[in-house]
């Protein structure tokens, strides 16, 4: 494994971890359920995406890399859905004018 790929992988995973941390801080500090949802999904989707990119550099085969991307897409889908459902409960009347 070449040194450049190793360094890139570590950098990407660290950046992803930073986004996870930012999302968690947002979850703990934001005042409103909708703001917290925003922080969680945005930060976690980018965070997971960066971690997946970091892992793509280390993937053993194209199929494994495809599985990593598939995992990321599924988490995106699940996160978006659950965010909509929770937001619907938090504010059932829809966006305020």
């Amino acid at each position: 494994m070449s040194l450049v790929l190793n360094v890139l992988s570590v950098l990407a995973v660290c950046a992803g971890a930073f986004f996870f941390l930012a999302g968690t801080v947002g979850l703990l500090r934001f005042p409103d359920p909708l703001c917290r949802l925003h922080a969680l999904t945005k930060a976690d989707n980018i965070g997971l995406g960066l971690v997946v990119i970091g892992l793509l550099f280390r993937a053993a085969s194209p199929l494994t890399a495809l599985k990593h991307v598939g995992v990321w897409l599924l988490v995106l889908l699940a996160g978006a859905t659950v965010t909509q459902l929770i937001a619907h409960i938090a504010r059932p009347s829809g966006p305020r004018a």
Binding site: L74, L77, A78, A80, T81, Q84, L85, H88
Partner: protein, 310 residues
């Protein structure tokens, strides 16, 4: 090593939070997180099949069950009447727990070294079964009777749950929709995710003969997809009295038992497989068993038939 120490501390912290949380819903969320971290621990212990089962069943389906239960209990409970335990009871419980933990830790330290293991025997006979995954070989060939009994236990638990339905609700359909109409985003995601999930579930079942996976993990994913589809309103839930439902539930154990009895004629003992056709027999057992387990798990989560909640 330091990673393992960090993971252990994290698991213990989440478990302690689950016990110490004030609200039940918070405790259930902590339990789901604990289950997922535990799946991580299983991977570190070189047990990927157990990790899959823990993540899907121990954390996923159990979490879904408990979240539903906690929300229904919160709706029906009067907020007043909780008697908190006294200090003496808490202190005594703490002492007992510390003693039990210390005893178990002492047992861990006193485990015999070199560790006794059945891995060489499992490896020696695995070629005869035609499988590549030793855990599947243990489940379906060496200890197949345990698996048969486990499937029957699942069915008995389902019968137990059904027996809790009030008589007047017996023939009803299992209506899992909540009190509000399903939001359209849930329908969209169910239409997108259920086909993918079914393929993933079948894949995990199929690949379990040579790689980590197997029928329980695949069946759990199939059951989850059915639950998602029924929550989104895509499938109209079946009434428990329907014949095809009962056929799907019992065909797995029935085929397993039939092949087990046929083992008397074919290979001389209950659940013995003839040498040349072992893999085929295991496959013939596994396919209906996966279907049955998926249906049983889905119905276990759905609960007893009841009138729709207001």
């Amino acid at each position: 090593m330091s990673f393992d120490i960090g993971l252990t501390l994290l698991v213990l912290a989440v478990a302690a939070w689950t016990i110490a949380a004030r609200e039940t819903f918070v405790a259930v969320v902590g339990f789901v997180a604990y289950g997922l971290l535990l799946a991580f621990v299983w991977v570190r212990l070189a047990a990927p099949d157990v990790a899959l089962t823990e993540a899907a069943l121990g954390s996923g389906l159990t979490g879904g069950l408990l979240i539903g239960a906690s929300s229904r209990l919160r709706r029906s409970q009067s907020p007043a009447a909780e008697e908190a335990p006294g200090v003496v009871l808490k202190a005594a419980a703490a002492v007992l727990s510390i003693l039990v933990s210390a005893g178990l830790a002492a047992i861990v330290l006193l485990l015999p070294d070199p560790a006794p293991t059945l891995a060489p025997q499992a490896a020696a006979s695995i070629a005869a079964t035609g499988l590549g995954n030793p855990v599947t070989a243990v489940l379906m060939a060496y200890r197949a009777i345990d698996t048969l009994l486990e499937i029957v236990v699942l069915l008995l638990a389902l019968v137990g749950i059904w027996s809790l339905a009030p008589d007047r609700d017996w023939g009803r359909r299992l209506d899992r929709r909540g009190s509000t109409d399903p939001v359209s985003v849930l329908t969209f995601v169910a239409q997108l995710l259920v086909p993918v999930g079914i393929i993933v579930g079948i894949h995990i079942f199929w690949v379990g003969s040579v790689a980590p996976g197997g029928e329980f993990q695949g069946a759990t994913i199939l059951a989850t997809m059915w639950t998602l589809a029924s929550m989104a309103g895509l499938v109209s839930a079946a009434a428990v009295t329907r014949r095809w439902l009962r056929l799907v539930l019992t065909i797995g154990p029935a085929v397993f038992l039939a092949i087990g009895l046929a083992g008397f004629a074919l290979a001389g003992a209950f659940l013995a497989y003839p040498k040349s056709h072992a893999k085929l027999m295991i496959l013939v057992i596994e396919i209906p068993v996966t279907l049955s387990i998926a249906a049983t798990l889905a119905l276990l989560v759905a609960g007893p038939p009841e009138r729709a909640r207001q």
